[in-house]
Amino acid sequence: MASAAGDPRANDVWVVVEQHDGVVAEVSLELLGRARELAGQLHVQVGAVLIGAGSALKDVATALVARGADTVYFVAHTDLAHYLAQPYTQVVTSLIREHEPQIVLYGATTTGRDLAPRVASTLRTGLTADCTDLRIGDHSLKGEEYKDLLYQIRPAFGGNIIATIISPLHRPQMATVREGVMVMPEEDRRRDGRIIAVPVTRTPEPIKVHAGVALSDADFVVKLVKRVQEEKRVDLKGARIVVSGGVGVGSREGFALVEELARTLGGVVGASRAAVDAGWIAHDHQVGQTGTTVRPKLYIACGISGSVQHRAGMDQSARILAINDDPLAPIFSVAHYGVVGDLHKVIPLLIQAYRTKGAGGEAAPATSPAAPTQPAAADGGAS
């Protein structure tokens, strides 16, 4: 299985779709968009693997076609209602062995990063974690030319390098891909696609089947006791304004100030990895290579020094305002506006200025936007 059989280059590009209670993870849709591009370059088709249970799932399958799938492998069984590593591995490996896709992509979510390595180990093929880009390219190795390989591009080593990983001799080539780094494809309800219902045979003892997927009790030794999904998720990706705090915030309590600024401006609270690691704020808020990649209209970095891993997750923001008491902090090298000062003083000034402007509109005294700032002249004069 590990080596390529037949003409593997004629085989499809797959996305293993993640869904919970009929809601598809955004990263799965983003991956369908990229899978279409890759498949276009390779002159092959896009397959989507959809696993779950319930009547809503059929609509999901149709929606996947609208987002770019040519074939949806639809695997429905009551025992597959919730994600569990072993049965899902069994499903995905069975389908891969039967259809031999050349590329299989997963979202780099907790689910995708639980499932994909187990599948790769079963198939003894390569897997690259947490990619931020995928391309098609060639490679020469020991005099052999390998055409149309998947370049799996990811940050490594704490974000200090970007590595291009290939898997020249093994199929399928597999990767998990970070949420939010690929463009969500438009929905096209007129697209045609096949939905193939994959038969699932569920028996107490393992058996071999000629078609579809066989699951036995041995696949279900892990049981879900409960799953708690908090209502509100932090929507960093969709935020127009992100106000992030780092080490300079100083404490869990200090984040109240960051939160107040975010609330005042109608933004979402973000954080650096260091602030999350310190336990001041939940991981959902983390911006950077190991968190969420954001592209808001305005990014305000408060007390964030600006490690490579953080900057890579926010440097595409339309405008960046950095507040830091260290004038040499690397964050200033990607910022459009820099304020060297104590964030505990600067943030209240920002809040006050915004509230005043909001109420007073254009009445407040201001120089032309194009003019450079004049720090000393007006110092202490206003209000």
Binding site: A129, I161, D315, Y337
Partner: protein, 311 residues
């Protein structure tokens, strides 16, 4: 007699907070010796979880690492915290392994130990951040897995006589925007996150006990340590006086000790290759400096509103 057997997989990693270009080799792999080496943070959380279970149950904690001889340092640190037994997998044949080849070697070592009830490891290592070795080792062992564990809720130790499937573990894992609680029969593999606990510091008493071996043991890789003819390819650490210190043995296994398929190890056993690496260079911009005072900030806010950046 102990009862619950726990294997903890740990890794010595370069401190990725301080990487320089000199630390990178031509082939895209890391020259670890150019960086300070540390105990991978989440592996310390895994060890702590094992030691907490040992505090409550009659358990034997074995710590296993694969790496160069210098990786013995993380084994020492494990002994200082309360591990009962430590094993170093070291062999040139293991070099250049990706996650698949690494998990193969680790799984063979667990098998050589006669299997175990529980395997614990950190969710991911800070050098690669792949989070793949845990699930892949579980698969190779045929064990179920629970990854991203932020809390071990309950453990039922296997019944006397070690009947398969008699023990059970319940653990909670973090997922996007929530959590889920799972229960599994033993044996099982768990990957543990930094949320799970605060690792205990080394015990002064244990440091005193083991400090003899903390001295000069295993300076360089040397085949003479090993006796591949024997299934007993184990060595004691060599103390300062040149005599073996066997109170805490560092067992060292190479590929022959593991009866490994040479083709499945190291670079040869790794499907993935690093095609190229590049240093991250981010777009630089000239920041316009704004005075940290009322007037400066007011003007900035006004400008952002004018440009419809702020609403």
């Amino acid at each position: 007699m102990p009862q619950l057997r726990i294997v903890v997989l740990v890794k010595q990693v370069p401190d990725t907070a301080n990487v320089t270009g000199e630390a990178m080799k031509e082939d895209g792999t890391i020259n670890r010796s150019a960086l300070p080496a540390v105990f991978n943070p989440e592996d310390l959380n895994a060890l702590e979880e094992a030691l907490k279970l040992k505090d409550r149950h009659d358990a034997r904690v074995t710590v296993l690492t694969m790496g160069p001889p210098a990786a013995v340092q993380v084994l020492r640190e494990s002994l200082y915290r309360g591990a009962d037994e430590v094993i170093l997998l070291t062999d040139k044949a293991f070099a250049g392994a990706d996650t698949l080849a690494t998990s193969y070697a680790l799984s063979l070592a667990v098998r050589k130990l006669g299997g175990t009830d529980l395997v614990l490891c950190g969710r991911q290592a800070i050098d690669g951040d792949t989070a793949q070795v845990g699930p892949q080792t579980a698969e190779k062992l045929g064990y179920p897995q629970i990854t991203c564990v932020s809390r071990v809720d309950k453990l039922v130790a296997p019944a006397e006589g070690g009947e398969a499937g008699s023990g059970a573990i319940t653990a909670t894992r973090s997922i996007e925007g929530g959590f889920e609680t799972l229960t599994s029969t033993l044996p099982c593999l768990l990957t543990v996150t930094g949320e799970a606990n605060d690792p205990r510091p080394p015990s002064v008493k244990l440091v005193m006990t083991y400090k003899g071996i903390a001295a000069e043991a295993m300076p360089e890789y040397d085949d003479s340590y090993l006796n591949p003819e024997s299934d007993d390819a184990e060595v004691c650490m060599i103390g300062r006086d040149g005599k073996p210190v066997c109170r805490a043995r560092v067992v060292q296994w190479d590929h022959e000790a593991l009866a490994a398929d040479r083709e499945a190890l190291g670079l040869r056993g790794s499907p993935t290759r690093v095609k190229e690496i590049e240093s991250v260079v981010l777009a630089q911009s000239e920041a316009r400096m704004v005075a940290p005072d009322e007037a400066g900030i007011a003007e900035l806010v006004h400008e952002l509103i004018e440009e419809h950046i702020l609403g």
